[in-house]
Every structure is written in structure tokens, then in C-alpha cells.
């Protein structure tokens, strides 16, 4: 673990706030190297990640199965807090992981599903097809990816689902400006 020599933290006290500075406790892990240094930790990590890629299809199938199970629980018990939270987390994990696993369209569909769960004023009143279409589309992309023209079909599917979900959210949130603002706000992820 990086250690610093014991030195005092300096606190500057102002009327409304304190500014606390300390010697950088991690500075000892920084090492100056020549510009021509050939070590490439990022390249090494990318290679290691590529080495995991043979497992990604199985991992994605697990994530898609978890999402389907979460929705089955909702269909059985309704939108209890527990069921709602698990459905959201399952969709949210796919939103975050699927592009890394090689399923970018599944990530877009999962994001659309997350938005529905997060911004619909009453989940029990959301048409069931809106959920099932999202979940079935993710399942199809994951399980039948080899038979789909992944770029055109799954891309078009994800765009259409997002459009339908956004239209629904804009309608049901027409009197809820804070949600409308959040729905319309751009993503911070480049290329979204």
C-alpha cells in the first residue's frame, strides 16, 4: 500500500467552509519514465480483456436470464418494491455490461427499459407489451445473435423500442416537468 511520511493536514478555515489540504499520500506510486518507455498498461489490459471475451456470450446469457426471471417475478407478484428494484438492477446491469460483452444493441434496449422503470409514474399502468417487447428483444439478440443480421436488425429494433418507450414516457410525464427534463436530457456517454 502506498504510504506517506507523517505530515500534518492543513486546514484553512473560512467563514462558510474549510479547505483541507494534505501532502499527496499517493505521490510515491508515481514514477517518471522516458517518453520512449515501451510499457503499455492500457494495451496490456485490453489484451487481457480480449482474453476474457470467450466467456462473454455465456455471461450475457446469464444476464438476459436474470432479466427474464425478474420480469416473471413482476408478472407473478406485481410491482412490489423488491420486484421493481430487481427488474431495474437486472436491466441496468445489461445497460452497463452488454456493450463490453459485444451486444451494444442489447445495451440500448436495456437503457430504454431502465428509463421506463425509472420515469413511468405508475408501473402497474404501463402496458405489459412495453416490458415484454424490451425483454424479448434482448433475449433474441443474445440467443439468436448468430442468426440475426446484428447491425441492421438489432440496431433497428433497439431504435424502434427506444422511440416507442420515449413517446410513452413523454406522454405520461407531460405534467411532470422534472421527469420530462430528465427524459429529454442527453446522455453523457459519447455516441449514445
Amino acid at each position: 500500500m502506498a504510504r506517506n511520511s507523517p505530515r500534518d493536514i492543513e486546514v484553512k478555515a473560512f467563514a462558510t467552509h474549510h479547505v483541507i489540504t494534505q501532502p499527496n499520500p499517493l505521490r510515491k506510486v508515481l514514477r517518471r519514465v522516458e517518453e520512449k518507455d515501451m510499457d503499455d498498461p492500457v494495451g496490456r489490459a485490453e489484451q487481457a480483456l480480449a482474453g476474457l471475451s470467450s466467456e462473454f456470450k455465456d455471461w450475457m446469457a446469464v444476464e438476459a436470464g436474470r432479466l427474464a426471471a425478474a420480469y416473471a417475478a413482476v408478472q407473478k407478484d406485481g410491482f412490489t418494491k423488491e420486484a421493481r428494484d430487481e427488474l431495474f438492477r437486472a436491466a441496468h446491469d445489461i445497460k452497463g455490461d452488454a456493450a463490453t460483452f459485444g451486444y451494444p444493441s442489447a445495451a440500448v434496449i436495456a437503457e430504454s427499459l431502465c428509463r421506463v422503470i425509472e420515469h413511468a409514474p405508475d408501473l402497474a399502468k404501463v402496458p405489459g407489451e412495453l416490458f415484454s417487447h424490451h425483454i424479448n428483444a434482448i433475449q433474441a439478440i443474445v440467443h439468436e445473435n448468430t442468426r440475426l443480421d446484428s447491425l441492421s436488425v438489432s440496431g433497428e429494433l433497439s431504435r424502434r423500442l427506444r422511440r416507442v418507450a420515449d413517446d410513452y414516457l413523454a406522454h405520461v410525464n407531460r405534467d411532470r416537468p422534472e421527469h420530462l427534463e430528465a427524459i429529454l436530457a442527453p446522455s453523457i456517454v459519447p455516441g449514445d
Partner: protein
């Protein structure tokens, strides 16, 4: 040009998703890290934080029961026995600007939106190691300075006010961390 000796850093990774933990572990080990501790929820992470005193925390946001935001808030307790200053990198599927603001106001040091990349993670780690920001304590906030830039051209009300400052001496961070083990 600077490089990081990752083998001298201790990481705590908190994510409820085992696949993401595996990816993070793979990336950190590839960077050269040896000490990577993993927790699958915020409560376990908080215990491990006190026990292992990591240099850097990487946490997911959305987790059951005790999420990454609450973890950040628990770590950023200025009166706590442990180290409230460790850099926290929030690695999350949330990609809305308002989420970044909420994370920042909870004391998160860096925000990294998924999908994860080796480059993105490395840059965030490099930033917290090479460019630590001072901490600010107000009635409602304790965490890294939320102002990353100063602008001499700023026109508008000042959120921070005050006369000439006084300097208070505090126990060293190292002593504080040691006493908590």
C-alpha cells in the same frame, strides 16, 4: 511522462455483478495491481474499507440494500475513525448528467460511465493519483473540491464567502488511518 506503480496500490472494488467484478479485477491486475479486494455490496465494502484501508475505492452505484452512493457518503464522514479522504471512483451504468451531479455531491472523486474501457479506467486512476484535489468541508458537504477549474472571468454570486483564513492543524492522515486498524 508518468507511470503508476500499481503494485504499490491497494484497491477496493464494490460491485454486485460478478461479471463486472471479474472484468475490473482483470483490468487492475493487468495494470500491475496485486492487492484488489472485492465486495458485492456496500455494507461489506464499508467493513473491508475499515479493515484493509485501501488507497482507491472503485464502486458501482446501483446495488441492493446499501448502494454505491451511500457507500461514498459513509466513507466521507469527516469525524469518522477511518480515512475519509480516499479517492472514490464511481463506475456506473448511469449516464445522465444529473447523476454525475448527485455523485459529485456525495463526495465521489471521479465518475466513469459504463461501458468500461481499459483506457477510461486507467485515466481515472491516474487522475486521482497525480492530481488530488483539496477537500472542502461545509455544513452540507465534505469531499473533494467540486471546482475542477477556476475562472477569472466568472461573473455571479459566490457560493463560498469568508475573510482571511486561519490555519488549523490536524492529525496526519497516516496516523488517523493507522489508529483505525
Amino acid at each position: 511522462m508518468f507511470r503508476i506503480d500499481f503494485n504499490k496500490l491497494r484497491f477496493l472494488v464494490c460491485d454486485d455483478n460478478p461479471h463486472m467484478r471479474r472484468i475490473l479485477r482483470t483490468l487492475l491486475h493487468s495494470f500491475g495491481a496485486r492487492e484488489v479486494y472485492e465486495a458485492e455490496d456496500g455494507a461489506t465494502a464499508l467493513e473491508m474499507y475499515s479493515h484493509y484501508v485501501p488507497d482507491i475505492v472503485i464502486t458501482d452505484w446501483a446495488m441492493p440494500i446499501f448502494d454505491g452512493l451511500e457507500l461514498a457518503q459513509m466513507i466521507r464522514q469527516p469525524e469518522s475513525k477511518g480515512n475519509p479522504y480516499a479517492p472514490i471512483i464511481m463506475l456506473t451504468g448511469h449516464s445522465e448528467k444529473r447523476r454525475v451531479t448527485v455523485a459529485r455531491d456525495a463526495g465521489v472523486t471521479e465518475f466513469l460511465a459504463k461501458p468500461i474501457s481499459a483506457k477510461g479506467l486507467y485515466q481515472r486512476i491516474l487522475n486521482v493519483v497525480a492530481n488530488p484535489r483539496p477537500f472542502i468541508k461545509t455544513k452540507t458537504y465534505f469531499g473533494p473540491d467540486r471546482r475542477r477549474n477556476t475562472s477569472s472571468a466568472y461573473m455571479g454570486p459566490e457560493r463560498r464567502v469568508g475573510e482571511k483564513h486561519e490555519v488549523l492543524q490536524q492529525p496526519s492522515l497516516l496516523d488517523k488511518a493507522r489508529s483505525s486498524i
